[in-house]
Amino acid sequence: MSQADLTMEGHSTGLTIGPVFSIPTKKLAMWLFIIADTMTFAACLVAYGFVRNGTPAWPRPFHSITNVALMTFILLTSSLTMLLGLRSARAGDKAGAFRWTMITAAAGILFALLHVREWLGLINEGMTLFKNPWGTGLFGASFFSITGLHLTHVTGGVIALIVVGVRYKGGRYNADDIEILGLYWHFVDLVWMFVVPLVYLLNLTH
């Protein structure tokens, strides 16, 4: 139906245009969520920066970068496997898309386990939300808040990956749903790129 026909039927052109920014509504919703979540993480990191900057003897408890480097590698690689899953889904390869999505979820689980192991190590050294052996108690509060918020996002992402992967395999979801979930997973990866330098690397013992 041409635009002239629509106008003839009494529709205004404003009602006949596509979705905002010409992208699907679900995808736009995910982008808006990502922008909002960016503000949440940014507020946490900026608040952490204020406190760290304003505290003269800020603790530097991290001795090794091995664990955090491994976690970074796993999360970055999981973004690549997510892309491979999306590529398979777009090509109509259901088995491949399901496989890559589950590999991404497995990488997320591995990341979460390494994260929990690191937390337990710090807790065993005497670090809690309100005190630690190295100095101001604010360190524990900010560290657990920021990494905990990120870990919550990873955990939610892993659950979503499994649910969407299974439903995609069952035919209830399509490649668009994989793409939208991929946006979220890449965002989780993106946030980690800021958490690592600000929370870990700036607090290394030299």
């Binding site: 920014f21 010409s22 992208i23 982008w31 922008i35 960016t38 503000m39 940014a42 507020a43 900026v46 920066g49 204020f50 406190v51 900057n53 304003g54 505290t55 003269p56 970068i65 480097a69 970074t72 590698f73 970055l76 690689t77 973004s79 690549l80 892309l83 491979l84 590529r87 777009r90 090509a91 109509g92 490649a175 793409e179 991929g182 946006l183 890449h186 965002f187 990866d189 993106l190 790129m193 800021f194 690592v196 330098p197 600000l198 690397l201 700036l202 290394l204 030299h206």
Partner: protein, 106 residues
């Protein structure tokens, strides 16, 4: 050619994704190298943040396919996000005042 296949072709092959992945790994490695440099914390912070911003840009443009979206949407995301992030920086003077005391007090 179907729309999906055309879109996949337009977004480039797996090679481009691999190149971006390797770049992200290299930039992440660079952050670890910076962490072991014998420089002031503020300099370290600026360098690491700059690298993180480049990493985030690459991930958003190519992994999240923002580059393939309409330009108006690309600019909407960039302008909206950056303006709010910049707005959050208004309180840094208070943070410095906690350490150095009130500026211009004499």
């Amino acid at each position: 050619m179907t729309t999906i296949a055309a879109e996949a072709q337009k977004s480039g092959g797996i090679g481009k994704d691999l190149i971006v992945y390797v770049c992200l790994l290299a930039l992440a490695g660079l952050q670890f190298v910076i962490a072991y440099q014998n420089i002031d914390v503020s300099q370290m912070f600026v360098r690491m943040l700059a690298v993180a911003c480049v990493e985030a840009g690459l991930a958003e443009l190519f992994f999240m396919h923002l580059w393939s979206e309409k330009r108006v949407f690309l600019w909407f995301v960039i302008i909206f996000t950056v303006s709010v992030l910049l707005g959050m920086q208004y309180g840094w003077t208070d943070s410095f005042r906690m350490v150095n005391g009130a500026p211009f007090s004499k």
